[in-house]
């Protein structure tokens, strides 16, 4: 049914249709509306057979989900930013134990400085934690990905993060087609755990593994993620057959087949990128874009096929590996190694900084002519930065630069 609803509500309803049995909730902006919605549905009786638990921290939230999942219950939680870091240990643990938990990440920057707005630093920090990470481009996709995520997680016995941009998606009201219960039931079978805590068939789950087998355990995890590279497109096709729309998959190209310049990005920014592509196409530039849905597993082969015919690759990413540069772009460079093309990194939208078509357009045009620096911080206030750098050169200073920058921004001498 088509409805104009908030992204968080769409996700909450979608998750509810998946018949989760245990939901752990801890508030953190911007995912809070999702668990609020689910809590309401459990309380009202709309969502039956589900235990909704208000826990004391994100660490507890995921830990409770670990317990419930190991005991055979379909388990869900959501978090963001600091919360994800606070549960980091449990994030690794859930995947190490092969528990098919689905967790929504309302992507948000990580402090300090504390910041509630969107970028991808949080989920990126957990990129090696062994979870599958799927990025939603729209609220419709965010809703749909959760339905696929449970199926994916349970088929592989691996946890899945569904990443959606904080505020941009979580708090945006859009038209979303919320499927019916029958549709979801037909697509998603009840959870049949690979192993379960059952007094009748005791097992010891979570052994200590030493050097003699640890490597093998990790290798098998890696193999399992590789299996996901086949399963994700399969589920996406299956989803299209059942629900009549494209959602998910490893990646999606937009006007990409004949492009010389290809832009790669994850999440909602693809919408802006596609509009910019349309503009530039209208002006005759052979440009296209690729929206990467599956960040983990990283679809290197698919990216090589999708990007290999272009000469300029611009990776727009909402995070930065401080001291190194782009993360996604580095991985893409690695995937494309040996091909005659250039990969440039555009770090954009950190801490919720707006990514405008104008700025993108300028960057893409520079790329077209090979003038784009290997690493660009999109929309960086050069003045503020250079003044601060200058000040730091003058005297060694320990203390947060953010205070100085704020002062400069308010100061009349600053342009």
């Amino acid at each position: 049914m088509l409805r104009q609803i908030e992204g968080s509500r769409a996700v909450a309803e979608s998750v509810a249709l998946c018949r989760p049995e245990v939901i752990c909730a801890y508030p953190i902006t911007p995912q809070t509306h999702i668990v609020e919605g689910l809590g309401e549905m459990v309380k009202s009786g709309q969502l039956k057979g589900c235990d909704f638990i208000n826990v004391e921290s994100e660490f507890a939230a995921l830990s409770v989900a670990i317990g419930s999942s190991a005991a055979g219950a379909r388990s869900y939680t959501a978090t963001a930013s600091q919360g994800l870091l606070y549960m980091a240990e449990a994030v690794y643990n859930a995947s190490g134990l092969g528990l098919p938990i689905v967790m929504t990440i309302g992507n948000r920057a990580i402090g300090a400085p504390i910041n509630i707005w969107n970028d991808h630093s949080d989920s990126m920090s957990m990129r090696d934690a062994g979870w599958l990470q799927l990025h939603a481009e729209t609220n419709q996709e965010a809703a749909d990905l959760h339905i696929q995520a449970f199926k994916l997680a349970e088929e592989l016995s691996l946890p899945v993060m569904v990443c959606m941009d904080g505020f941009i998606l979580t708090h945006a009201y859009e038209r979303v087609d919320v499927p019916t219960q029958q549709q979801v039931d037909a697509f998603l079978p009840p959870f049949a755990p690979r192993q379960v805590l059952d007094p009748a068939a005791p097992l010891s789950i979570g052994a200590m593994v030493g050097p003699e087998a640890f490597m093998e355990v990790r290798y098998l995890d890696h193999q399992k993620q590789s299996q996901a590279l086949e399963l994700i497109p399969e589920l996406s096709r299956e989803f299209r057959d059942a629900f009549g729309r494209d959602s998910g998959g490893l990646l999606r190209g937009y006007r990409a087949t004949d492009a010389d310049t290809l832009v790669v990005a994850m999440g909602s920014v693809n919408g802006t990128i596609q509009e910019t592509v349309d503009q530039l196409r209208a002006e005759g530039m052979k440009i296209g874009s690729v929206s990467l849905c599956s960040y983990r597993p990283f679809p290197a082969e698919a990216l090589r096929r999708a990007l290999g015919c272009a000469s300029e690759i611009v990776v727009v990413e909402k995070c930065v590996a401080v001291g190194m540069g782009g993360i996604l772009s580095m991985e893409i460079r690695n995937a494309l190694s040996g091909l005659p093309l250039t990969v440039s990194t555009v770090v954009a939208g950190l801490g919720g900084r707006a990514i405008t078509q104008k700025a993108l357009r300028a960057v893409f045009q520079r790329a077209q002519f090979g003038q784009l620096q290997p690493l660009t911080f999109l929309g960086l206030n050069e003045n503020v930065v250079s003044r601060e750098l200058e000040r730091q050169r003058d005297r060694r200073h320990s203390g947060p630069p953010a205070e100085n920058i704020l002062r400069d921004l308010r100061s009349p001498v600053c342009p």
């Binding site: 826990v55 004391e56 317990g67 134990l97």
Partner: protein, 329 residues
């Protein structure tokens, strides 16, 4: 003609079993078919109090739950010595996740059992004092506060033994650990620190809180069995000597635990919904010195000279417990 009333059997109730007692009057551990939930072949040190306490407690819980038990285990000695790949000593449905989340994992298991209608299954979480009083405290408190249907059992050996004997918030004053060395003006762990999780648990007004000791098996089994059959959040804190960390003889594990009780340093009591509801009286009161002398972690209290003041301070702690919990009656 008056005859002294027949009061006790040959060994009273202090031994584990006795051929003269009916099965119902023996400790559960005397049964030839006891669960042995923690099986032979585990890698605990010789005379490990925690291995003993864990088998006592889990066997009792198994008995009370008629085998319908699932256990979540915090990281620590117990976890490491029981489940190093490729062998597990547990004969029960058991799970280990992390150091600080056993209570939360158990909450999750209990939630799963609830939604699946498995009301017959009891959920137990267990960990050492580090995993309970320190790193796992937030999850524990959360579990208590929500009154989740979990029995949490802490095996308190008064320090981080698995990592090489470091101080925890359960380490007693004066005790030498790797991080509270026996040197300087105040050798060993400082006085006036630490916390009592049983009392904190009581402050959560949960249905049941109790302390127990490996030196008093019947008391321990009784508390675990009753706690297993209750609903809501329950907490049992079991004192388990660590020969390695305490510097006591492996053969003295139970003796040391017994002296902790008999000195008053480890009071045995229980509480319901935040109010004290019972205690186990001291049978033969002894001075703390008897307890301290058996442990190398307190050796600096006796050599090169007897540290009368600090021993008196520890005695005062014991005396305070005795008064507070009315342990002589």
């Amino acid at each position: 003609m008056p005859v002294t009333e027949l009061k006790f059997y040959q060994t009273g109730t202090f031994t584990i079993g006795n051929r003269l007692l009916g099965e119902e009057d023996r400790a559960g551990q005397s049964a030839a078919n006891r669960a042995n939930s923690l099986n032979c072949g585990h890698r605990a040190c010789q005379g490990c109090g925690e291995a003993l306490g864990a088998r006592y407690a889990i066997d009792a819980a198994i008995r009370a739950s008629k085998g319908q038990l699932v256990v979540a285990n915090a990281t620590g000695c117990l976890e490491v010595f029981s489940t190093p790949y490729p062998e597990s000593s547990w004969q029960i449905a058991w799970m280990h996740s992390l150091f600080g989340n056993a209570a939360a994992v158990a909450t999750g298991i209990a939630a799963a059992m609830k939604v699946k209608g498995r009301n017959d299954v009891r959920v137990l979480a267990q960990g050492g004092d580090g995993g309970t009083t320190d790193i796992g405290f937030a999850c524990l408190s959360g579990m208590f506060e929500r009154n989740d249907d979990v029995l949490y059992v802490c095996y308190d050996n008064e320090g981080y033994m698995n990592t090489g004997v470091q101080r925890s918030s359960a380490t007693p004053p004066a005790a030498r650990t790797a991080t509270t060395p026996a040197m300087g003006v105040e050798p060993g762990n400082r006085f006036g620190q630490g916390k009592s999780i049983p009392l904190i648990a009581m402050a959560h007004q949960i249905p049941f809180v109790a302390t127990a000791s490996v030196a008093n098996l019947r008391d321990l089994e009784d508390k675990i069995e009753r706690a297993t059959l209750m609903r809501g959040a329950r907490y049992v804190h079991v004192h388990v000597p660590c020969p390695l960390g305490w510097g006591s003889e492996p053969s003295d594990t139970i003796k040391v635990a017994r002296l902790a009780v008999e000195t008053g340093l480890f009071p045995l009591f229980e509480a319901e919904f935040g109010a004290l509801s019972g205690h186990t009286a001291i049978r033969r009161r002894v001075p703390v010195e008897d307890y301290l002398r058996l442990q190398k972690r307190f050796a600096h209290l006796f050599r090169p000279v007897v540290d009368v003041a600090r021993i008196a301070h520890i005695q005062a702690i014991a005396d305070h417990n005795i008064e507070r919990f009315d342990l002589l009656n």
